[in-house]
């Protein structure tokens, strides 16, 4: 009989507020829906605002003000992912259609991955034949996870993706996490090979991928082959620890970068992996990580 770790039950009253790290001296001005922003007519109306009958600019969401010259918009603290061209995203295939896949990317509508914007086995310049259309499910089927880049956006706000670079493609052997899209900033690189031996993809859409292996170099088959060999226990534990660390960072509203994840990972080493889900330990790890990030 295996030994199971003890189960910890706590009352709701003992819940701890994890959002400790605040910048006390700077409190942003918060707007609530219906609040007047400006009554001057020379402003441009951006997202999250509207003009009422008396030509007053009012907020329609709760959030903070963003001002670019004369354009005023209110950004909500929590919202769905708004795609921009060039974003790296992690998504899940929801549907296989004619010449295209539908991908769930945490945005308002499902994104589209066209058959013509993926690398099929056999070279870049291969023609897409009718046969390819019939065997689309062989490459990607419902439920598969992919990593892709935003190629363009449509008028209705949905995104068109592509995987024409070898680093994009199907993901296997790892853990996917969902966090708020606001926690991942647009960076030069979103692919990280961590020292612990795992790979990390920080999708702009708030989907995080923790891969058990280092990014393998063999992508000649267009990234559609899945390596289903057994992952050693050590690597799995690394992944599980990384997952819990990212959860801690997300709960404490710390930006997700490769440095913050590495710091949190290093600070968490004194605890067992399953202990990392306890609130006191989460606070400890997040505070230590925050400290190191400030010292930088």
């Amino acid at each position: 009989m295996e030994e199971y770790p003890p189960i910890i039950v706590r009352l709701a009253i003992n819940r701890i507020d994890l959002n400790l790290i605040k910048n006390e001296n700077v409190q942003p001005r918060i707007y609530t829906p219906g609040e007047e922003i400006s009554s001057q007519p020379d402003f441009l109306r951006g997202h999250g605002t509207y003009v009422d009958d008396e030509n007053t600019l009012r907020a329609s969401v709760a959030g903070v003000l963003e001002k670019v010259n004369k354009l005023i918009s209110i950004r909500p603290l929590k919202a769905r992912y708004q795609g921009e061209i060039g974003d790296v995203i992690v998504g899940r295939i929801t549907e296989v259609q004619q010449k295209r896949w539908k991908v769930d990317t945490n945005s308002k509508l499902d994104s589209v991955l066209l058959l013509s914007s993926v690398n099929l086995p056999g070279g870049e310049l291969r023609r897409r034949s009718a046969e390819d259309e019939q065997t689309m499910r062989r490459y990607l089927q419902e439920g598969d996870l992919i990593c892709a880049e935003v190629q363009s956006t449509f008028v209705d706000g949905s995104l068109s993706l592509h995987t024409r670079v070898l680093k994009y493609g199907k993901l296997s052997q790892g853990i996917m996490l969902k966090v708020s899209p606001a926690l991942v900033k647009r960076k030069k690189t979103h692919f990280h090979n961590l020292e612990s031996g795992a790979s990390l993809i920080l999708g702009n859409n708030g989907y995080i991928w923790i891969g058990a292996n280092k990014q393998d170099s063999d992508r000649s088959e267009g990234g559609f082959t899945q390596d289903l060999s057994r992952i050693p226990q050590v690597n799995r534990e690394v992944c599980a620890r990384l997952r819990n660390c990212i959860l801690i960072l997300a709960q404490c509203n710390i930006q997700l970068t490769d440095t913050s994840v590495t710091y949190a990972y290093e600070e968490s080493m004194k605890y067992k992996i399953n202990e990392l889900l306890e609130p006191e330990i989460m606070i400890d790890v997040s505070l230590l990580t925050h400290q190191r990030l400030i010292q930088q």
């Binding site: 942003p28 609530t32 329609s60 969401v61 903070v64 929590k78 308002k108 509203n253």
Partner: protein, 301 residues
């Protein structure tokens, strides 16, 4: 059932000790679920409602195939009452799907469609799930308040598109229940509040405030032989209230004379104004607590 005289007896106070225009205690918690896009828990006295909002997302299932309305988003509401929610003690058979829940879902949908700017979400769907955990009167209004908060939490823009003048639709349902829906829209929150008219002809000479209708009725007051109006208003910051409310009447017996409606409306809007202030405060407090560090740089410039 409580007799009407019982209610008038206590020096102008109501059975639970409130004055006529007094609301019950309102407690709000936002962001109670991690998975949902937005969620809120609201208590108004003993009426406890949990609301979750998912979306806007790609329509799935049967609603997705119905592409008749491409230019606008779809709102999908589900109102359900927990089997243990009734304050009278008996258990409910079905939590959802019965006539009452279906009607509530539809009414909720009308209210929500009025405040969400659906034009900016073409072809997508917003799901609003309302779960009544405990019912002690005014549950429709409390669920509207909760749904508004959950929408704010989800970052969905709330505003008004139409400005229609009073559409009064009278339809006589069954024997005595009058149902009329007056729609009008103002900006800001959708706030629900109930007003109950307790009819008691004996106290004509006194300027009794209870007689002209009480706000935020609880279960006992809803059971009295009067008419309860659930009014969803979209009140403005300043009290320049134009005509714009959704009224749902549910009455145990009596008809409401139209001459009384205006004074009831004035009262209920007063209540909505109060609730709005409370909710607005709650939203502000929640946001201040939750501010992400990524947003701080914005505030500086």
């Amino acid at each position: 059932m409580i007799e009407a005289e019982n209610i008038e007896d206590q020096n102008g106070l109501r059975p639970d000790g409130r004055r006529a225009l007094e609301l019950r205690q309102i407690r709000v918690k936002m962001g109670v679920f991690g998975q949902a896009d937005g969620s809120a828990y609201i208590e108004q006295g003993n009426t406890k409602i949990l609301v979750t909002v998912y979306g806007p997302h790609q329509p799935r299932g049967s609603t997705g195939r119905n592409t008749s309305n491409i230019s606008k988003g779809i709102v999908n509401c589900q109102y359900s009452m927990a089997v243990f929610s009734l304050s009278s003690g008996e258990r409910k058979r079905k939590p959802r799907g019965d006539r009452k829940s279906q009607e509530r879902s539809l009414q909720l949908k009308h209210a929500m469609e009025a405040i969400i700017h659906l034009e900016i979400y073409p072809r997508s769907q917003i799901d609003i799930y309302v779960e009544a955990l405990q019912v002690d009167g005014s549950e429709y209004c409390v669920s509207v308040n909760g749904a508004t908060l959950a929408l704010i939490d989800a970052g969905i823009p709330i505003k008004v598109i139409y400005k229609t003048t009073n559409i009064l639709q009278f339809s006589l349902k069954k024997s005595f229940v009058i149902k009329f829906i007056a729609t009008l829209f103002l900006q800001n929150y959708a706030i629900g509040c109930t007003v109950t008219l307790i009819n008691n002809p004996s106290l004509e000479d006194e300027d009794n405030t209870l007689e002209k209708g009480v706000l935020d009725a609880n279960y006992v007051e809803e059971c009295t032989p009067g008419v309860t109006l659930s009014v969803v208003a979209l009140p403005n910051n300043d009290s320049t209230l134009k005509d714009g409310l959704i009224v749902v009447a549910q009455g145990a017996g009596q008809r409401l004379h139209l001459s009384q409606f205006e004074s009831l409306k004035a009262r209920v809007l007063y209540g909505c104004q109060d609730i709005r202030t409370i909710l607005d405060h709650a939203v502000r407090e929640y946001l201040t607590e939750q501010s992400l560090p990524s947003l701080f740089h914005v505030a500086l410039n």
